[in-house]
Amino acid sequence: MSDFVARRPIWSLVILVAVALLLWLVFSVWTPGMEAAFGRKRVFLSALFNGITLGALYFLVASGFTLIFGLMRNVNLAHGSLYLFGGYLGYSIGELTGSWLVALLVAFVVVGLVGVLMQVFLFRWMEGQDLRQTLVTIGLSIIFADLLLWSYGGDTFQVTTPDWLSGPVTLPLAVALRSNGEAVLMTYPLVRIAILVGAIVLGVLMWLALNRTRVGMLVRAGVDDRDMLSATGVRVQLVFVMVFAFGAGLAGLAGVVGGTFQSLQPGEDTRILLSSLVVVIVGGMGSIPGAAVGALIVGLAEQFGSVYMPTYAVMLTFVIMVVVLAIRPQGLAARR
């Protein structure tokens, strides 16, 4: 951190000012002039929070994607299908058991197992052949999509929000003042806050696991130089299977989360895949902090876009991707 400040004093200052400005926008009571310029404060705050929670969902999906890519150089284009499969599975389990947490757990485990099968039966046999692996994953995604359409139909499904997560909470943020000077406080759906907190906890745990444990060390070593790691006697294949399982499991988990605060239907698989591709391209292929930064940017861009320029909202994320590719093609948080 201090290293960054020393090397890039101007950028640090810009970031500091931006953060301060944002905090001021969030906590201050807006004057009528500001409301005229930016719209109502509630809209701004809600777009901000929605963008961050959407970013949390994208982070869950993209972190698995980027982990698998970083270690195995395998662009898993069936990742979106794993997301959708997890979501549908979570829906069925949720209907069956009535428990949201069980649904989350089962989706994580089962989709993780599917990931193990994919790695053991397919990708192991075509290691290092990027193009072939990519084509196989495209084929898999088509097969998955048709199987899911066959068993669940084209209808829209929604995972039931558990009672203890439904409804709004009041946040200690004033969005407006009533005529008697009393502040109108912001209300926000509890389930979205829970998802945000969950994603942050998971992100921190992943960072700790990668940087503070022996397994994490193996994974990081694998990302840096796979051949050398294997030469030191580590069973690289086992590490691969584990990472693939974990990445796939995360996609399945994200499917349940996405199915809870959005919804599930055919076509979601490619939409999520596209979002995670943009996220990892913006953030940097193979980097967990990169996935977090990218997910946050893409989520915020989508939400602010849909509020302040609805017609061009779809384009905005791609504009961001193009700009990043133009000025920093390796991604914002990549080391090389």
Binding site: S46, A47, N50, G153, G154, T156, Q158, T187, Q262, P310
Partner: protein
């Protein structure tokens, strides 16, 4: 190698021969419906409508047995185009029932012009332009368009409900444009005010920002959403704990939404709306249709009562049956006689009398309704009043109607 080649040739000729034989016996009817995407539940109910009509007709049209070929679309014009091309070029159908969604309808108007022998009977699509701007001679629509379905609702919510200022949330394509157009014409002329219009893409997942953007100072919010989008919106709205009153577009408070899972739909109780059907209408024809619908499918494979889509698709097949009886099933002339007869059809449909105007667009009844809860917990559309014989120009002269312009995000402006 040579042998294999011969075998392949033989197989092909056999296949070709059998398909020729089939074409002489069985009539093929193409059916297009949205079986994926946001409007899936509506598409499925539309297909049910066709199946019920087919069963009722003993699977015969004008004395000829027929088979249905159902193709899926996803509410986008290009999916409709793909489906229609597949039906015409690959399955060689001469009659198509469909499409379901507004922008698909506009694409099919243009496509049907390129296949002059085709007879296309609209499934349930309701964009104004489909039959109003450069109509196609072989495209028939036996349902009202989105604006006609709103006839009388504007005056009703203003005078009877007292909603003086409203905002609008609707999907960003031709059908909701048409609905808002029809609603605003009546509502604004009667003195209502529309303070904001939010257009969201069809298939929007995240309504968070849209919900936050609803103004505080409106009496009600007009919702022009459909299918999965409606359910998504209501779920997310209930999560924010909002308490706004709603006005429903024709497919917002349809059985596709009222029969959906989850508790969020209860927010709709008391919502006024209007459209081509009223679930709880006590007309004997309507009641007979509801009974037929309920008996045709087990309770978990249908809605509590037929949706707008099932009714429209059912009517389309029934209109086709009347015309086919007149021509005795003969469409060997490229369908010219059938088209002439179709234009003359007057349908005594479950949802009121329907006849066509010069553009082959229905003149039909609009129902003003209100969502109510039945004792068993089901939601239904209570009948409030019927507006009979609504024309496409909504009672205005053709010139006055044209002067308003076509439906769009901003048209008509709301000047009281």
């Amino acid at each position: 190698m040579r042998k294999a080649l011969m075998a392949a040739v033989a197989a092909c000729s056999l296949l070709a021969a059998s398909s020729v034989a089939n074409a002489q016996e069985k009539l093929k009817i193409g059916v297009m419906a949205t079986l994926s995407g946001a409007l899936t539940s509506g598409g499925e109910d539309g297909v049910r409508g066709v199946q019920i009509a087919a069963k009722e007709l003993g699977n015969k049209l004008g004395g000829r047995e027929f088979e249905l070929i159902v193709t899926a679309t996803d509410a986008s014009p290009d999916s409709a185009l793909r489906a229609a091309r597949k039906l015409v070029e690959q399955d060689k159908v001469q009659i198509i029932i469909g499409p379901l969604s507004g922008s698909e309808g506009i694409a099919m108007r243009d496509y049907s012009k390129t296949v002059p022998n085709l007879v296309m009977i609209n499934g349930s699509s309701g964009a104004l332009e489909t039959t109003f701007v450069n109509p196609s001679p072989n495209f028939f629509r036996f349902n009202s368009d989105g604006a006609m379905w709103m006839a009388g609702l504007g005056e009703y919510v203003l005078k009877d409900k007292g909603y003086k200022r409203i905002s609008i949330i609707a999907e960003d394509y031709s059908f909701p444009y048409t609905q808002v157009f029809g609603f605003a014409l009546g509502y604004c002329r009667a003195g209502g005010q529309i303070t904001q219009r939010q257009w969201v893409p069809l298939g929007t997942k995240d309504f968070g920002s849209v919900i936050a953007n609803i103004p505080d100072d409106v009496d009600a919010v007009f919702l022009g959403l459909g299918g999965g989008d409606s359910v998504n919106f209501l779920n997310q709205y209930s999560q924010t704990g909002g308490k706004a009153k709603f006005i429903g577009g024709s497919i917002m408070v349809d059985q596709t939404v009222l029969s959906s899972k989850g508790a969020a739909k209860r927010l709709l109780v008391g919502t006024p709306s209007s459209g081509g059907v009223a679930d709880a209408w006590d007309d004997p024809r309507w009641k007979a249709w509801v009974k037929l619908y309920q008996e045709s499918f087990p309770a978990d494979k249908r809605f509590a009562s037929p949706s707008l889509f099932a009714t429209n698709y059912y009517n389309a097949v029934k209109a086709l049956a009347i015309a086919m009886d007149k021509v005795k099933g003969d469409i060997a002339d490229g369908g010219a006689k059938l088209r002439a007869e179709l234009a003359k059809v007057e349908l005594d449909a479950p949802n009121g009398k329907i006849k066509l105007d010069d553009n082959r667009q229905a003149i039909a009844t609009t129902f003003i309704t209100e969502v109510a809860e039945l004792p068993n917990g089901d939601l239904t559309n209570k009948f409030v009043r019927a507006v009979p014989d609504v024309t496409q120009t909504l009672g205005l002269s053709l010139d006055a109607f044209k002067a308003v312009g076509l439906p769009s995000r901003t048209n008509p402006e709301c000047k009281p």
